[in-house]
């Protein structure tokens, strides 16, 4: 959970990007990394296989600026999307403050999205989180591709909780910062409530 440091006047929060394999979690982080000013970001770490599939996690530390005299730092993580890396996915959810579910909008990935979302619910539950309460946003990625499922159908199938949902194309960067902002907002509002 968040780390509030009165000594250095910093708030640190952890955000995890979750979703099926090849949905664009790492691409989200890469875009944020490329478009963020040097002084606001740390090194991006990717623990990936030789074929650039995430093996354990990607990590990107961001310093967003001050809020009420506290430096706000967000640590962004992605999980490995491939089904058989479930043990690793559980570990990365430890201490999470907010979750972004990246859905792959392509028709043929609809089942994979549903399966991954179920997996997220199970893993959050196992870590003691309440899926109904944790700051959560959904990003419908790859909207620029031709064979996508209509938005209302995706929303009906994936967004039962009616959390903020955003369209994106992580390759071109469309919707990427909007997604980050949406989840950051929920996390900070949670902090406000004394979460």
């Amino acid at each position: 959970m968040s780390f509030i440091n009165y000594a250095s006047r910093e708030i640190n929060c952890k955000i995890v990007y979750y979703g099926p394999g090849l949905c664009g979690k790492t691409t989200n982080l890469q875009y944020i990394f490329n478009k963020t000013a040097e002084e606001s970001k740390g090194k991006m770490i990717s623990l990936a296989t030789e074929t650039e599939r995430t093996l354990f996690f990607d990590f990107l530390p961001l310093a967003l600026g001050d809020i009420r005299g506290f430096k706000t730092r967000f640590h962004l993580y992605t999980v490995p999307g491939q089904v058989f890396y479930d043990a690793s996915r559980k570990l990365i959810l430890k201490g999470v403050d907010g979750v972004v579910f990246v859905a792959d909008s392509q028709e043929e990935r609809l089942d994979a999205n549903i399966e991954s979302l179920e997996n997220l619910k199970d893993n959050l539950d196992e870590q003691g989180f309440d899926i109904e309460k944790i700051p959560f946003v959904i990003q419908y990625n790859k909207r620029d591709l031709p064979n996508v499922t209509p938005l209302d159908e995706l929303s009906r199938l994936l967004n039962e909780r009616k959390v903020p949902e955003l369209e994106a194309s992580a390759m071109t960067g469309e919707g990427v910062f909007e997604t980050l902002k949406a989840v950051a907002k929920l996390v900070l509002n949670d902090l406000k409530k004394g979460g």
């Binding site: 780390f3 770490i45 990590f59 809020i67 043990a87 430890k94 902090l191 406000k192 979460g195």
Partner: protein, 165 residues
């Protein structure tokens, strides 16, 4: 002990106590760098030759490392592996869990030895654990006390929007 899902709050007084303990350990163990990390990967404090080190990345990877070995431990029926040691050509890393929640990382070279580091870490761990006990007690008291107002209670949507401009 601080629960795994509760926010970690650090106050000035406890932070100073921690820094003093880390400085002392640095001297007594003859090591290069020492840092303390939350199990979720947040850097709490660092001491020693940190100028050329990416401490944020080190903190995150250390926590990942502890989480992965913790997963391994559970698979073979252990609660956790409380000490990890990585040996390099020049530098070595000694990682241990303090008070169930924080991770103490000591980087040392040939000027020290594994035996010395282990010995000194053991003593410091107990002292650190008691500081974290106090910290947990204090943050619980503060959160219960009626007149304590979170500094974030007044955050507005505009404040949040400004972060992204």
């Amino acid at each position: 002990m601080i629960g795994p899902q509760s926010s970690l709050v650090m106050y000035e007084e406890e932070y100073q106590q921690i820094v003093v303990l880390l400085e002392k350990l640095l001297q007594e163990s003859n090591s290069k760098v020492i840092f303390l990390v939350d199990k979720n990967g947040q850097l709490i404090a660092a001491s020693g030759e940190t100028a050329n080190l990416d401490t944020t990345s080190l903190a995150s990877l250390t926590a990942g490392n502890i989480a992965a070995t913790g997963g391994l431990a559970k698979l073979i029926g252990e609660k956790e592996f409380s000490i990890l040691f990585h040996e390099g050509e020049k530098d070595n890393i000694h990682i241990s869990i303090v008070g169930g929640r924080v991770i103490l990382v000591v980087i040392f070279d040939e000027r020290s030895s594994l035996g010395l580091v282990r010995l000194r870490v053991k003593k410091t761990s107990m002292e650190l654990a008691s500081v974290f006990e106090e910290l947990a007690f204090r943050s619980e008291q503060e959160s219960k006390s009626a007149d304590s107002v979170s500094p974030f209670a007044e955050i507005t949507d505009d404040d949040i929007d400004n972060l992204f401009n």
